[in-house]
Symmetry: C2
Subunit: 287 residues, 2 copies
């Protein structure tokens, strides 16, 4: 059953926070929406686009009396912003976030949240490389996956309400421990982002005229390098151990291909390519 | 001015050969089109789709009396197929190819082609991961780049006609030496393909359930791993030295990011990400 939140504070009214507000208002599950952003132009744009009813650059003021606080800010700003807002929230309020890394955030906020309030970590896997209120889209979440990451300390009823919130905006929800989430996302998201940045930097170093000769392969492989630098700096630093492991696995597969190409081992190269080809064609069918 | 070819033999009637035939017929510059493929089902499908008028699995028979021979087969089949067809071609015929690697092919065919016939290497950068006559599309080449790679031995008039052919099907044509072409393509195309295969193999090794948690970043970064294994085995082996150099540059950028993430160097990480972000946003505007 769809939950209802009467007064919702959203910190970060860009792609994720803005899209959630638009989708949840359309679904009729958000009452008043108060936005929080550092810059007044961002808040004005969010108001103009119908994302928020009103806004404040002061987190405490934005959070006052809210029964839901959504922390849709870069990963490393989540904990301190949650701590700051906490005293202003209504009794029984739920805090949730949309961060791409969960372990550290869940641990820290679990230890802070008391007095009848709850924290439930969530990660809607629905970003694009776009940013800001202008990129907000009420259909962003439709049929995408959201991972909700309860810990042993998470209130079960609050977790159900947050799950219902993301389902109400069209997402499939799966639950996972914060640690498992971080290992999975390191492999399927953080790794391809690091690879994209490394590819762009390597091509740029090899010659500034090179990109004009690229076809779709380089364009697609590097698309996410145009993502927010601040957001990805935070994600990579917050999940460094799991990312290092994912990078180790990737580097070893890359090195294996490199050696096989270098020594002209036709049958082994064919085997490695066929392995990737078959796996990728299967993803295509299931994704 | 658009050239005209009265009898055209196309070896390989899949994505590139098939699309060229459809586009050139629509532009009115191909007379009779004779296809060559190993399997009779492929030829039947190509006939049915209006790609060819007739076909043969015998290269000599397909090439008989042709004034243009297009070798649109995997890179390492091009030279031997060209050699095989040569005696059957009309006097003054032009041979061209669509291979993604040029140095070896241009050297070999330059030394074979005599008796008033000409070879002109070309690489239309317009592939996708799809294959076969079913993927042929007369609009595949529109506004894409074709690199024509004349050598010191290439007949100037023949090179002009091949340039005009690709322009007639909608491509922008640029000329480059075969060696320069191979270095450029190693960086902008062969490298992202190797990276895509390595990414899929690394993710698969880390857990078969992982792909279902991926968002757009992994999907886009690995899209080309569903390309033809035979085609890419050939390309990678034919351009191994240039690819090794491109892989060295990429591995070093990847390792640099890895170390910066590992030691939590926030400002250096931000600098590396910003470098990639800015470069990639510029490509977006120019591509």
């Amino acid at each position: 059953m769809a939950p209802r939140f009467e007064r919702v504070a959203i910190a970060g009214v860009g792609l994720i926070g803005g899209s959630l507000a638009l989708a949840a208002r359309r679904a009729g599950i958000f009452g008043e929406v108060i936005g929080c952003a550092r810059r007044s132009e961002t808040l004005a744009e969010a108001r103009q686009r119908g994302i928020i009813d009103r806004g404040s650059s002061d987190p405490l003021e934005a959070a006052r009396g809210a029964d839901l606080l959504v922390l849709a800010v870069p990963v490393r700003a989540i904990v301190s912003l949650g701590r700051q807002c906490l005293p202003a929230l209504a009794p029984g309020a739920i805090i949730t976030d949309a961060g791409s890394v969960k372990g550290e955030i869940v641990r820290e906020l679990d230890s802070l949240v008391t007095r009848g309030r709850s924290f439930v970590g969530a990660h809607p896997i629905a970003g694009t490389e776009e940013q800001g209120p202008a990129a907000a889209d009420p259909n962003l979440f439709a049929n995408q996956l959201c991972i909700v990451t309860p810990s042993a300390l998470t209130d079960a009823h609050a977790a159900d309400r947050i799950q219902a919130l993301w389902e109400a905006v069209g997402m499939r929800v799966e639950r996972m421990s914060p640690e498992r989430h971080d290992a999975v996302l390191a492999a399927v998201s953080h790794l391809p982002h690091v690879v994209a940045f490394a590819l762009v930097n390597a091509i740029t170093a090899a010659g500034s005229e090179l990109p004009r000769y690229s076809g779709g392969s380089l364009r697609d492989a590097t698309r996410v390098a145009s993502s927010s630098v601040e957001m990805w700096r935070d994600i990579l630093l917050s999940n460094s151990a799991a990312i290092d492991e994912a990078l180790a696995g990737f580097s070893s597969e890359l090195q294996r291909l490199r050696e096989v190409i270098r020594r002209g081992d036709e049958s082994e190269l064919e085997r490695l390519l066929a392995h990737g080809h078959e796996a990728r064609c299967t993803w295509g069918r299931s994704a």
